[in-house]
Symmetry: C2
Subunit: 345 residues, 2 copies
DNA sequence: CTGAAAGCGCTAACAG
DNA sequence: CTGTTAGCGCTTTCAG
């Protein structure tokens, strides 16, 4: 019944453990642990001995054990809506993820991809609240992030893109670009080019980026005393842009200016315009959002808003880590956008 | 020195533990553990009591503890080359990842994104060999997967895309499409259309997909007694396709057939052809690879090879899990491709 | 079928 | 600065 004689424990088979290292270095496990965790309270000699032993043994700490003992997992979940088909195809999200992952790769945190099942939302909720991660990065796709906004009271959480709020809790921490301001700015370029009958192909109404760009569009027209009634929605895909363009022209053939909420949709819209024999910018000024391949290689190249998606991802990771480590962070972080004038307005 | 009186342990604060559940259900921890792990050796009564307690407490097992005790992590690493900029932008990889993640989401495995740093390759090697994951999914990007091929002897590993081999070890397990056969097939369409001076814009020489498609192209021409000397390489991006097209036309203006190894490159090539007043398929037959937006919406829509990237990802996950669970799996799995004839040849 | 006991590998006070 | 002593929460023989 005593806890004696721990000598006869595990034979030095398998992967080396902290204990193996301690033995080889001639110190206690605590000291090895201190070295691993970079504690300053270790004599140079001990440190050298331990490091040598670690090197020699090719020792790698066991994360599970560490996390069990320290009650920190060093893991961060990246929550992705199940509706992934469009999600991954969307270069916006792909790039944000990339930025977030690259940033985390510089730290000791690990990124766990969590696909939020729509049929069993409990599964991911349990995972997140079950202490399996130290925090979560959430890419708001559709506006069904209600539950995640709630989650952010129990776990450090950072959103990518302004999450929609459905109650009066505290504002969740998020990183976004100022879609409203940027949309207004690029739209006003249309106005200063003398366009008067200005329409927009807006994003989906269940994504805040779509809503915000539409709001910016309307703001700009309002300020100029123009009517913002020519609005058709797409889902950010080229196909939806083409369809919206058709609807717009059906409603009013005299359109002479157009703000398309994404370059991919603009590509679709352009194909319709071309088919109708309308040329940009001669017959109609066209500005858009995103400086991707579509905006750059369109005929003509399009005046657009450039946003740094990777920077959004990096910032999300940075904020989350600070949050996990107990720091105060701003609830709202707006990343800069840049207007690229290619004279297509 | 005795191990007695464990009663006065942790107050029932914080998250419920297995012990809490056991107490509430009136059984031992072992029984709760059995229930959680779906052991059949539990009486219906015990099972019910435990499940009720779990429900009531909102109990979630602690993965770290479980993994420490069971020596299995239930985690799978997805290894991605650091050169991520292009990686994530590439819809091929994005979709494979998606497929792999979706498949895993149906299981109890968790996906950890591991960015393989080029400056510190040891970091990911240590992580992988340190017992932090049960297996790894590796998306071969460039041909620097030497170390990962070696890794596959110490850890269950499945590659996406044929990995290049640099030694004579066993063939690693991989999932791919038969790039060679598909490229040969689509190229032969060009031949049967009567094209005789056939060129190719090949992929990069450091990616097996690029090499294999080039090999298929050459095979088809050889079989028809045609020369396969008109080869220029791109990096799968539209820009590189345009540049390669320029070089090709400089070398030989009489080209009447062209196989482009990716639809994105084909898009670039088409812009060059258009600029030169050459029309497809009138002046020149054009076939490509990938049935994405570029192939579908090109002018004209292109005859191409459709591959199901998500299926590749799913299959990778499936094989890896079987490998982890000790099953034998085929070393090579070829996913089907489909020829889509749009009469652009 | 169930419980007791003994750790998995590591961290974290607490003495020394 | 270093070693000792207890566990972190769960699985797993091994008796019963």
């Amino acid at each position: 019944m005593t806890t004696e004689a721990p000598e006869s424990r595990s034979a030095p088979a398998g992967t080396p453990t902290l204990e193996t290292v301690a033995a080889l270095a001639g110190v206690s496990r605590s000291t090895v642990s201190r070295v691993i965790n970079g504690s300053p309270k270790v004599t140079p000699e001990a440190l050298a001995a331990v490091n040598k032993a670690i090197e020699q043994l090719g020792y790698v700490p066991n994360l599970a054990a560490r996390s069990l003992a320290s009650r920190r997992t060093q893991a961060i979940a990246l929550v992705i809506p199940e509706n992934t088909a469009r999600f991954f195809a969307d270069p916006y999200f792909a790039t944000v993820i990339q930025g977030a992952a690259m940033k985390l790769a510089e730290t000791d945190y690990t990124l766990t991809l969590l696909i939020a099942s729509e049929t069993d939302p409990e599964k991911s909720r349990r995972y997140l609240q079950g202490g399996n991660v130290d925090g979560a990065l959430i890419l708001s796709h559709h506006s069904d992030d209600r539950s995640y906004v709630a989650l952010s009271r129990k776990l450090p959480v950072v959103f990518g893109g302004r999450p929609e709020r459905h109650d009066d809790g505290p504002v969740p921490v998020y990183v976004d670009v100022d879609n409203t301001a940027a949309a207004a700015e690029v739209t006003s370029l249309l106005i200063s080019s003398g366009r008067r009958r200005i329409a927009t192909i807006a994003g989906p109404t269940d994504m805040t980026a779509g809503l915000d760009r539409l709001a910016g569009f309307a703001q700009a027209l309002d300020a100029a005393g123009l009517s913002a009634d020519l609005v058709e929605h797409g889902d950010f895909s080229p196909e939806s842009g083409a369809a919206a363009m058709d609807r717009l022209l059906e409603r009013d053939e005299s359109i002479d200016g157009l703000f398309v909420a994404s370059a991919q949709m603009a590509d679709g819209a352009l194909s319709v315009l071309r088919a109708r024999g309308l040329s940009v910018p001669k017959d109609l000024g066209l500005v858009t959002f995103d400086d991707d391949y579509f905006a750059q290689r369109a005929t003509p190249p399009l005046t657009t808003v450039d946003q740094d998606e990777a920077a959004v991802g990096r910032k999300m990771s940075e904020l989350l880590i600070r949050l996990i480590e107990g720091e105060e962070v701003p609830r709202v972080t707006m990343m800069p956008t840049r207007l690229i004038d290619r004279r297509s307005q």
